[in-house]
Amino acid sequence: MFSWSLAVRNLKRRRLRTALTASGIVVGISMMFILLSLVSGMETQARSMARALGGADITVSNSTSFRDRMGGGGFFGALPSPSTLDASIAETISGIPGVYAVSPQFSFSGSINGRRVTVYGVEPASYEIVTGGLNIVEGRFLSENSDGEIVMGKAMMDFLNLTLGQTVNLSAGQEEEGRIFTVVGVFETGMIFQEYAGYVTLADAQNITGEHGLVTQILVKCEDPSTVSDVVSLISSTVPDVRVTTPTATIQQASQMLNTLTMFFATIGLVALFAGSFGVINTMIMSVTERTREIGVLKAIGAKNHNIMKIFLAESLLIGLIGGGVGVAVGSILAYVFPMLTSGLFAAGASPFGMRNPFSSAVNAGLGGRATSTIMFATPAITPLNITICFSLGALVGILAGLYPAWRASRMKPVEALRHA
């Protein structure tokens, strides 16, 4: 029928009213959009974080070390010499019921070609079993006989202008003499700061630092993920003076918090949308009243109730689509501007929602306290899904708000409508 051209022309004829009505929806939709984008941004971070932390259910480290390091220079700064555990503790832990595999690790702040970088010494086989391994994008991971081989992060490779197969000089500190390592693999995590790192064998790490027989963390994988907390208490009671953390559990907690945040944001957005929909209802009732006579004429020449309904629903749907479209556009701009506006806030360590950033603690735990929270804050992610959701939501509000006015229009008695001035 003429529903669409009638709707378009009627809305055009009353541009200001259309704009004002649609702006009610724009407010709600753009709000929903920026909030959804923020949540998506955090989700993306959580996911890559979870990947970076791998499948290690539990991390065991020296209980005295952690606190010492909190005030340290952070990831890029100088670190005091690492606090260590005796490597034999790994044996003890692997004997604890519920433990599937353990992987000792020696991480230290070393220097590659004179650049400060985090170096992880790992046992390749057990490391892959416990964590699921790194996301290797070039070359390969370490193996049992990888003496003198190193796997480096993509960002670090780019930074040092290195390619696969080249050699680097790795030392325990900038002043110390190093050893030559060959780059055999490159990994990516999606988070730049995590890629300023290198992986060598545990033995090489111990040799370079001279800390023979010592490790900094023991990564543990449980037989059953649901028994993690039981295993944690068993480790704590069996091995004295260790700090036992559960990075993946922390990530899970963080995602739960995200869910709560999403609900909270969604509620705010919905309330705004609800208010906006009243504007649409109001405008549509006005529009129906103004065009009462037109409705009478259309009925007189044979329009059925559903024809009339369609004309007005098309109009309110169009308002919803305009509101949804502009809302997404405004929301995108806000999502883009948002990090700039709040970057000062983040740098100061505060979170925009008055709560602690859930991820920094997870990373601190997982990487032995090396990550800092300043890099962690979420940048909103503009995803096609969010665009679709918000746009459809605008359309839905338009339709729902138009239902009652359109129904009223469709039920008008033709004779009475025709008599209307």
Binding site: F2, L6, N10, V297, L298, I301, G302, A303, K304, L418
Partner: protein, 226 residues
């Protein structure tokens, strides 16, 4: 003997205004043969519009029956009445009642669109109808760019779009000058002769009355033959 197209039997209409009953039609027995041009006259408030609305299926009588083409339209439900108006009846109003935001052509297309005619087909038919009323060169004009007489010619083109058996017109020349009124009636006469369409026209206009084949007068809700 031409066939009867409209037959009313003891048609009565009583409006309730609060607690007061307002009789508008009183036992109207009217017979209209097909291909007639019937004029209905009568003083203001005598029930002319009421009768036309009931014949056109816009309103329901309080009592009585009305057969159109053999069908008792008082027994039709709302949806079937809408269908009846769409296919059997064409309305022409005193104040044209074109949709202001649609062009002349689009206004004529409405009944065709309501019938579900494909776009090309209805465009062509609407153009033909506009040609018939001499307005093919004004097809893309909006109603407010047309004179009253031109608007009324668009209105009659719209009323004829679905080739109805009856065309009902309520004071169609009431707002037109005599030249436009004459042009309008010439179209009515042509159509009536060419397509055997029946016209029932409520009017005070002598120019219209002149062209009618039959005249009835309503007084206080009763129909008298003139």
């Amino acid at each position: 003997m031409p066939k009867l197209i409209v037959r009313t039997i003891d048609l009565s209409k009583v409006y309730r205004r609060g607690k007061v009953n307002v009789p508008a039609l009183n036992n109207v027995n009217l017979q209209v043969s097909s291909s007639e041009i019937v004029g209905i006259m009568g003083p203001s408030g005598s029930g002319k519009t009421t009768l036309l609305n009931i014949i056109g299926g816009l309103d329901k009588p309080t009592r009585g029956k009305i057969f159109v083409d053999g069908v008792d339209i008082t027994s039709l439900n709302e949806k079937d009445l809408a269908d009846y108006r769409l296919k059997k009846v064409g309305f022409v109003f005193q104040f044209y009642n074109l949709i202001p935001i649609l062009t002349a052509l689009e206004n004529v297309e409405i009944p065709l669109a309501l019938m579900g005619a494909p776009k090309d087909e209805r465009r062509e038919r609407a153009l033909n109808l506009l040609r018939m009323v001499g307005l093919e060169n004004r097809a893309d004009h909006k109603p407010d760019e047309l004179s009253g007489g031109e608007q009324q010619r668009v209105a009659i083109a719209r009323a004829l779009a679905n080739n109805p058996s009856i065309v009902l017109a309520d004071e169609p020349t009431g707002d037109l000058d005599s030249k436009s009124a004459m042009a309008f009636m010439r179209i009515v006469r042509d159509l009536n002769r060419r397509n055997n369409q029946t016209f029932i026209i409520v009017t005070h206009d002598p120019l219209v009355v002149e062209q009618c084949t039959k005249i009835y007068t309503i007084r206080d809700g009763r129909v008298e033959s003139a």
